[in-house]
């Protein structure tokens, strides 16, 4: 084949395509940027984690207008980023230096961002708050990393055992004196479980086991109740394989494994599943649930609301449960609007806003005083969690926590599914974690 006829087509198509590109570039000019606001206002960029529709409505319709009215000259630009995508958004934003002035995230993220120098310590601002406010903010201490305040928690969450009153009655149990210890709860679960041909068809006590993360939280609940901790106080030594941890995992595994198993459904999605939750469908008589999941059950199966009760945390050594600060707000290290950023956060933490936030979004309010508000205490899915707020214990605030939890969760799943004995699973997880902690 001859060659000479090849150069022209290159040029023609190149021209056609360049035109196309130019056209598309023009089409998009309008939406870009967003930093230049009208009238010389300062634009405060805020990212909210999650995008529940009622949260969006409340923030855009009530919170932001009220703040802007009080702070003329500040234009608040809010973006809602779903939890599942938050890390992706943040890492591209950090890489490109386009991170917002204020952003929300889970409490567990605080240590990593603080370690990387992406967020500012807020101790000065907190110290300037009235004493009454500081003691009223329930989860303030959970927001500290290495003794410094880095995140301002907006609400709390926790895990409690919910049960079906009708099924409990049917089984001849009386929770007028509720189960208070592991043994009590386990005995009740034994009576509530139903089996068919060696398989548990109705769980006596379902634990969160959607994935390895929730398995690690179920384990955490029992670990704390046994008096154990994930890590030692220095944040560098693994303690989950101490005797308390082994007891916790053996107890947890015993619910699923062995001839006297009382639960089934490992790996099944239960978080926030509402009408599909085993408590709602009747495939579980008791279940360790978080406040958000209980809320969805109430909302999607309103006919069941009356039939669901909630127990206070049981104990082995301590009557506590997994929980604590939920999501909170950070101030970006690079912000030019430090004062406005703090103004916005403290505005959100005003009692009336804390109350409205809990009512719209759910979750334990960030202020102890608000948790006593009659409008909130009459919300039946919220009240028990607000009451138990002082009993919730959370993750250690260390930078590598998500990786440590991943290592732990994997081994816990092996124990729950009976492929590795509990003690060995925890030791293996500890060995993997110590590698990570060494860096």
């Amino acid at each position: 084949m001859k060659r000479p006829h090849k150069h022209r087509p290159w040029r023609v198509l190149a021209a056609a395509l360049t035109t196309g590109l130019a056209l598309s570039a023009c089409g998009g000019g309008g939406g870009a940027g967003g930093t230049a606001a009208s009238g010389g206002d300062k634009t405060l960029r805020v990212w909210f984690p999650g995008n529940l529709s009622n949260e969006v409505t409340w923030v855009n319709g009530t919170l932001v207008p009220a703040f802007e009215k009080q702070h003329p000259g500040v234009d608040v630009q809010v973006e809602f980023v779903d939890w599942a995508n938050l890390s992706t958004r943040l890492s591209t934003a950090f890489a490109g230096n386009t991170a917002p002035d204020v952003f929300g995230h889970g409490n567990a993220a605080a240590a990593g961002f603080a370690d990387a120098g992406r967020i500012q310590p807020l101790d000065e601002q907190v110290a300037a708050l009235p004493e009454a406010d500081r003691t009223d903010l329930t989860f303030l201490n959970d927001g500290k990393v290495g003794g410094k305040q880095y995140i301002m928690p907006l609400r709390g969450f926790g895990y409690l055992v919910a049960y079906r009153k009708d099924l409990v009655k049917e089984a001849g149990l009386d929770f007028a004196t509720p189960p208070a210890t592991w043994e009590d709860l386990r005995a009740a679960a034994g009576k509530l479980a139903q089996r068919e041909g060696g398989k548990v068809t109705r769980s006596g006590l379902l634990m969160p086991a959607d994935n390895t993360i929730s398995m690690s939280q179920a384990f955490g609940t029992l670990l704390f109740q046994a008096g154990g901790k994930f890590l030692a106080g220095d944040g560098k030594t693994v303690t989950w394989n101490a005797p308390e941890g082994v007891a916790a995992l053996e107890h947890l595994t015993g619910l699923y494994q062995g001839s006297d198993a009382v639960s089934s459904g490992l790996g099944e999605k239960t978080a926030s599943t509402g009408a599909q939750h085993p408590l709602a469908t009747g495939r579980a008589a008791m279940a360790l649930v978080d406040d958000a999941t209980l809320k969805t059950i109430h909302e999607q199966s309103p006919e069941l609301a009356e039939k669901i009760g909630v127990l206070s945390p049981v104990k082995k050594a301590e009557a506590v449960s997994f929980g604590g600060a939920g999501n909170g707000m950070f101030i970006s290290a690079k912000t030019k609007l430090k004062k406005e950023a703090w103004d916005f956060i403290s505005f959100m933490l005003k009692p009336e806003n804390v109350k409205a936030y809990s009512l719209t979004v759910g979750g334990i309010p960030a202020r102890t005083s608000v948790a006593k508000d009659p409008e909130l205490t009459k919300v039946s899915y919220l009240a028990p969690f607000m009451e138990a707020a002082p009993q919730f214990r959370g993750n250690p605030n260390v930078a590598t926590w998500t990786q440590l939890r991943d290592a732990l969760g994997k081994e816990i799943e092996k124990a729950l599914r009976g492929t590795t004995p509990p003690r060995k699973a925890l030791d293996d997880a500890a060995a993997a974690a110590e590698e990570l902690l060494k860096g």
Partner: protein
């Protein structure tokens, strides 16, 4: 005899289609059910009470109309640029011998094999540093480049390497002799491509159109990081809000999905008319 085969064929196709459509039955039924009826056991395959609330909700109170418009704009521009650039490049790879053809083709194909996750941050930086756009200077400093714009959304979609591959495979299949005849008449390569091969290639052009539209329509990861305001949201972003944080709003999600699916089906039906035999299939392969 022939008629019987036709009807038997229709019956088989109908059966297969019915099986394939089964999940959609449920999708549609959820879209028309009230929230309280979403999950019941045994499953009721038809709503007991039909409602259009979900459609009204997503259309009137959410960002769906804006997202739909944006997706159409991005989709149409993607189709145009892919049909032009990818078809031409595919033809060149299949038919023209030029220096570096093989390695260039291998590189093009290879580009499709690198997981998008690791291209994300580099691509974000390229978009952000785009010279002379969004307040940037000549060196890409100072502004936000093509972030949060149609151009930014389009950037990675303009030429999809797999479309080049598809076009190449098609043109490989076409007889060489047709080009030789035209060349003897003194036609240029572009002319041969344009008036000899492109008319026969209608099925491939239609296929590339459908595939690139679909690709743009379902792209999630890139819009997620490049878009930062509701007015630039595309459909996948808008849809993801109904399944936010594990709290799935089944009715609205399915209603929005139904709405979001209609345009692609429209594009498909329009394109599939061109899945007919090319006009001049006279050339016989040697």
């Amino acid at each position: 005899m022939k008629g019987a085969w036709r009807w038997r064929r229709t019956a088989v196709v109908a059966l297969v289609t019915a099986v394939v459509m089964l999940p959609f039955w449920w999708l549609l039924s959820l879209a028309f059910k009230p929230e309280t009826e979403v999950f019941s056991y045994p499953p009721n395959l038809l709503p007991r009470e039909w409602t259009l609330d979900n459609f009204a909700y997503v259309w009137e109170t959410t960002n769906l109309p804006v997202a739909l418009t944006n997706s159409v704009v991005v989709g149409v521009l993607t189709v145009l640029s892919n049909v032009m650039a990818a078809t031409a490049a595919g033809y060149a790879f299949a038919r023209l011998k030029f220096a570096g053809s093989r390695p260039l083709f291998a590189a093009t194909l290879g580009a499709a094999m690198v997981p998008a996750v690791v291209q994300l941050i580099p691509l974000f930086l390229v978009t952000q540093r785009w010279p002379l756009a969004g307040g940037n200077d000549l060196f890409g400093e100072g502004g936000s480049g093509l972030l949060n714009s149609y151009a930014g959304l389009l950037l990675p979609l303009l030429v999809q390497p797999l479309n080049i591959f598809l076009a190449r495979q098609f043109f490989l299949d076409l007889p060489e002799e047709m080009a030789e005849a035209a060349r003897l008449d003194g036609a240029s390569e572009l002319r041969i491509f344009w008036s000899v091969y492109l008319p026969i290639a209608r099925p491939v052009v239609a296929t590339i159109g459908v595939l690139s539209f679909t690709g743009a329509w379902e792209d999630f990861l890139w819009p997620l990081v490049v878009v930062s305001s509701p007015d630039m949201q595309t459909l996948p972003l808008a849809l993801s809000t109904y399944a936010a944080s594990g709290v799935v709003q089944y009715g609205p999600l399915m209603a929005a999905t139904v709405i979001a699916t209609i345009p692609v089906v429209g594009v498909f039906l329009a394109a599939q008319r061109h899945f007919v035999r090319g006009l001049a299939s006279g050339g016989v392969k040697g």
